[in-house]
Amino acid sequence: METKKAIISVKNLVKKYDDFVAVQDLSFDVYENEIFGLLGPNGAGKTTTLEIIETLRAKTSGEIIVDGFSVDKHAHEIKQIIGVQLQAAGYYPNLNLIELIELFAGLYGANIKPMEMLEKVNLQDKAKAKYKALSGGQKQRFSIATTLINQPKIIFLDEPTTGLDPQARRNLWDLITEIRSNGTTVVITTHYMDEAEQLCDRVAFVERGQIIALDTPDNLIDKLVSSGFERKKEVKKANLEDVFINLTGKEWRE
């Protein structure tokens, strides 16, 4: 692990809103080309932390370096090398997907073919559709397409699978894995532990604005087991989600 190069380095990050401390003294590194998960309950400070790294929010104190650029001085440079999917972002009204991609290409100053971007996330059939008319899974895939326009080194995905059905979720996992295998570092937040276990190389647990654990999912589980933890119920070889996928098929529907 020590040999890996940190592409994001967060040191002693603090964010205060008036008298409320959202993030207190957070430090962690994200390595190049890993899928890094930020886990934790709602209001733990995950989104705040992401938005500070994305240069969308000002921090109270601490130091953040993204691929050699400091968020204090080089926000503009950082924005050019990252792709951001926000938890609840909307898209310009009355435009179809192709036109939205064109708009973002202009905003990023990127020369891309809009149709190719849509093909990457398997939305070429929806090129003329409005964002509002897409299903939940399609919306998330479109959001991810907009993060890829500037061929970023790092993409940030804030709860990309929340509200999706099991098929759409799996479909998105495949997409995220594919993006990573193309050389992009992925930082993701999620509430689903099975998802984190399956996708993430390393995860950080955030609670009340602090990191309480950071390791690979495997190590974290082993540690818990070696401390004498036992599940109340014997684990079966399949769970209900496996049943769901088995019954309804793997095929992803719109």
């Binding site: 080309n33 924005k79 972002a89 009355n94 036109e99 064109e102 708009l103």
Partner: protein, 384 residues
């Protein structure tokens, strides 16, 4: 598992080194202009697909133009200029005032009146003086072809007066003549007013709605995650909004000219001058929109606040009626509103054919409004 890790790492290094060169190339190429134009294009597409924008900018003004175009003058009053002279308290003038139909315009020089007559701004001019060596008065009336119908009404009023038994002994004669002026049609008054109103509603409603909804639906937040500058967002939106307003204006002017005989004294040059004024107008009115988008808490608050801005101007800025028709105490309010000056400048440019330099006063007032509005807008505008 371990083998996989090593392989993956080697792959990564390759990919990363490949990507480095790419980013350096990209870094220097970022263009704010390109981003601004991309936004302008997106915004323009969005505007032309939004029904409310089309209705406010085109349908409403056209309906009003249609209605007033066919309705004609409405409540008749006749503006009669009285030539300056020592004896304005003569019985003829007194009787004219009593009719209630005639508005006397005083305190202007003969030259002024000549111009006003030619434009049809006064419907006739009257000159009353005592005949030499007589107690009787001589009444000299000049009509204008620019307002022949009202001139005819005046003619009959005067004839009645002439045969009025109280007055008859004191009037010796009525001399009449007609000057030639351009015909000032209802459309020449109504169209610039409607055009001004169209620009006002596009600027105010459109801008307020767009920025509020972009902020609320977090579209702007997503923009901020790209390298785009804030100024690009504002300018891009502005270009789209102005472009749309100008197309709307051109449409209204051309339609008015073709179907209602709207007067364009110098043809295309007049149109260009009007579009320049329209641009200035929209920019000023967009400032109101920025302010409203900043103070409105949600979309349902936009229409009431926008109406506070647009309605008074709609009613008081000479959109439908000339400001001179308002009671005296109301006129200073009218003269404080920016739309008044835009309307005024538009009418002068279109009907009188003056150049932009001749309406520099109106332009200056609009500029002052613009500076004031944007000073407030910068303070209250919210990005998030």
């Amino acid at each position: 598992m371990n083998d996989n890790n090593i392989n993956a790492q080697a792959d990564r290094e390759e990919l990363n080194s490949g990507m480095k060169t790419e980013t350096t190339n990209r870094g220097g190429a970022y263009s704010n202009t390109k981003a601004t134009l991309a936004l302008a294009k997106a915004s323009f597409r969005s505007i032309i697909r939004s029904p409310s924008a089309v209705v406010f900018t085109l349908a409403f003004p056209l309906i009003f133009i249609l209605v007033f175009g066919f309705l004609g003058g409405g409540g008749t009053h006749i503006d009669v200029g009285i030539s300056p002279g020592p004896d304005l308290k003569n019985p003829v003038v007194g009787m004219l005032e009593k009719t209630g139909m005639i508005r006397l315009v005083k305190d202007k020089s003969k030259e002024d009146f000549a111009k006003l007559l030619e434009k049809g701004n006064v419907d006739a001019m009257i000159d009353v003086h005592r005949k030499v060596n007589s107690v009787a008065y001589s009444v000299n009336v000049v009509y204008t072809s620019a307002s022949m119908d009202k001139g005819n009404i005046l003619k009959s009023v005067l004839n009645n007066l002439f045969y009025d038994k109280n007055l008859k002994p004191s009037i010796a004669e009525i001399k009449e003549s007609t000057v030639h002026g351009r015909e000032y049609k209802t459309i020449d008054f109504i169209l610039p007013g409607q055009l001004g109103f169209s620009l006002l509603s596009t600027g105010v409603f459109g801008t307020a709605f767009v920025f509020l909804s972009l902020r609320q639906t977090l579209v702007i937040k997503r923009f901020f995650a790209t390298p785009v500058k804030r100024s690009s967002i504002v300018i891009g939106e502005g270009i789209a909004r102005i472009g749309f307003a100008l197309i709307g204006a051109l449409f209204i002017i051309v339609l008015g000219n073709l179907f209602f005989g709207f007067t364009l004294v110098h043809g295309a040059i007049t149109v260009v001058n009007m579009l320049v004024l329209a641009t200035l107008g929209v920019i000023v009115f967009m400032g109101f929109g920025f302010i409203i988008s900043g103070i409105a808490k949600n979309e349902s608050m936009v229409p009431p606040i926008s109406n506070i801005v647009t309605l008074p101007q709609f009613l008081l800025s000479g959109t439908f009626f000339s400001i001179e028709a308002f009671p005296k105490w109301l006129q200073p309010i009218s003269r404080a509103l920016p739309l008044t000056y835009l309307n005024d400048a538009m009418r002068k440019v279109a009907f009188e054919g003056v150049g932009l330099w001749d309406v520099k006063f109106q332009i200056m007032i609009l500029f002052i409004w613009g500076i004031g509005i944007y000073a407030v807008a910068v303070k209250v505008f919210k990005w998030e």
